[in-house]
Symmetry: C2
Subunit: 265 residues, 2 copies
């Protein structure tokens, strides 16, 4: 019984940020990585070498190995990768926030999702213990396997279905991708005026440190939450030559006030 829920060998398909990180992390956690698959021979070799795996560029090579395969490819490529494994007996697991498990269950019996709620950058080390892993599977046994596997890396493993996972993914996009973009806008505004981006770093650090400890609505500062119309109007005027940033400034300011009022109700 214990044997059944253990995974000792996996293969990793995809050598992007997620594939790179998960292959490395599971390798370090004692899992054997049998194959690393990439359409690029160079990428396959590079990662395979790091994790003691065989580099593979042709998916059909690995479909006769019945272990668990982590599919770490872009969302729109998952279904064509899955198709290669139709009726192969391989346990397929994708790592996407917003693609349902159904894309895999259509082609194979044992399927699952292992979604790390984190942003990954190739080459940057990561502490996994607190990273939430959201898992889902076709059956209890496969779910237990995924749980055992994820718990090798993290203390925070949760069973979450595809719909809930998509909602959490949207929240993550606001918290991570979109806030990163606002810093891109800030960097661009600094750059346009020949100021150094570095000047903003202590502010960014402090903003995020507050968010680790405080409710973000309580942490909100700035002209919008004070409803300081004179400043807001002056800023909108300054942004007349940047209509998209101006529109974002307007929408975000209105929304900050709306959230403040909602939470003060």
């Amino acid at each position: 019984m214990i044997q059944e829920t253990n995974v000792s060998t996996i293969s990793v398909i995809g050598t992007g940020n997620v594939g790179w990180h998960l292959a490395t992390a599971f390798y370090r956690a004692g899992i054997t990585i049998r194959h690393v698959v990439s359409r690029s021979e160079e990428h396959a070799k590079e990662l395979a070498e790091q994790v003691g795996a065989a580099p593979v560029t042709d998916l059909s090579v690995i479909k006769d190995h019945p272990e668990l395969c982590l599919v770490c490819v872009s969302d729109d490529a998952i279904s064509s990768v899955a198709e290669t494994f139709r009726d192969s007996g391989v346990g397929l697991v994708h790592t996407s926030g917003s693609t349902g498990i159904s894309v895999l269950t259509e082609v194979c019996q044992q399927a699952g999702v292992l979604y790390p709620l984190q942003t990954f950058t190739k080459g940057k080390d990561m502490e996994y213990a607190q990273v939430p892993f959201l898992i889902e599977a076709t059956d209890t046994t496969f779910l237990k396997k995924l749980k055992t596997l994820a718990e090798l890396l993290s203390e925070k493993v949760f069973e979450i279905d595809s719909e809930a996972r998509r909602k959490i993914h949207i929240a993550a996009i606001f918290a991570c991708n979109f806030s990163n973009h606002l810093v891109s806008i800030a960097a661009d505004l600094m750059n346009e005026n020949d100021f150094d981006y570095e000047l903003l770093v202590p502010l960014i650090t402090e903003t995020m440190e507050k968010l680790q400890k405080m409710n973000p609505v309580a942490a909100q500062t700035g002209p919008a939450v004070r409803n300081d119309r004179a400043i807001i109007d002056r800023h909108l005027e300054s942004l007349n030559n940047r209509p998209r940033e101006r529109e974002l400034y307007k929408l975000l300011s209105e929304n900050i006030l709306r959230y403040r009022n909602k939470h003060n109700e």
Copy 2:
């Protein structure tokens, strides 16, 4: 000559986040805080006690003391505070990013701005050494005084005029206030679905750590920068019941792609 550019005693008007922080920081740096002024007796007393100052609720009390006064009140209150000091000989210094120095020069000869590019939260300690202080003054001698004062706290003191300061302030609003708001939206989406905000904290931490070291455009991840239309459309549909968040999702995604293309040119 050296004597002239030193400041040994200041008064602080306003006991909000900025007043609280600057009074405390300058007190710890060895400056005598003579008066702490607030319309609220309770607030004046509370801060005055911490920094060994006299609490004051009536501005006219301090206008005969010729030292430097830090005006840490909201932007729309600066001009009425300044009016109290007309022809008093007091050196007035405000701490606002987007209010010009002219609001002070209209009423007094010695005026300046000392704007810390940081977000302040009462009660939360702050490391000042790397916080940029943007200063401006009516004349060289007063500018030197402000420089000497600011350098007691920070290694990063820059002379910046009112127009440039406003532009930097707008950048800071995107990097700090607006990114904080996006985390508020994320928290709200988590809450709506009964998920814990805490789950997002490792993601927020990692997002920030990347921004300390990487160019934000290079650090951008997510469906928008990959131009993954299927995922983006699915997310927009999920947000149909939240039109404002939906609009922000759409605008931010379009803008992420635009920045990617612009920076790849």
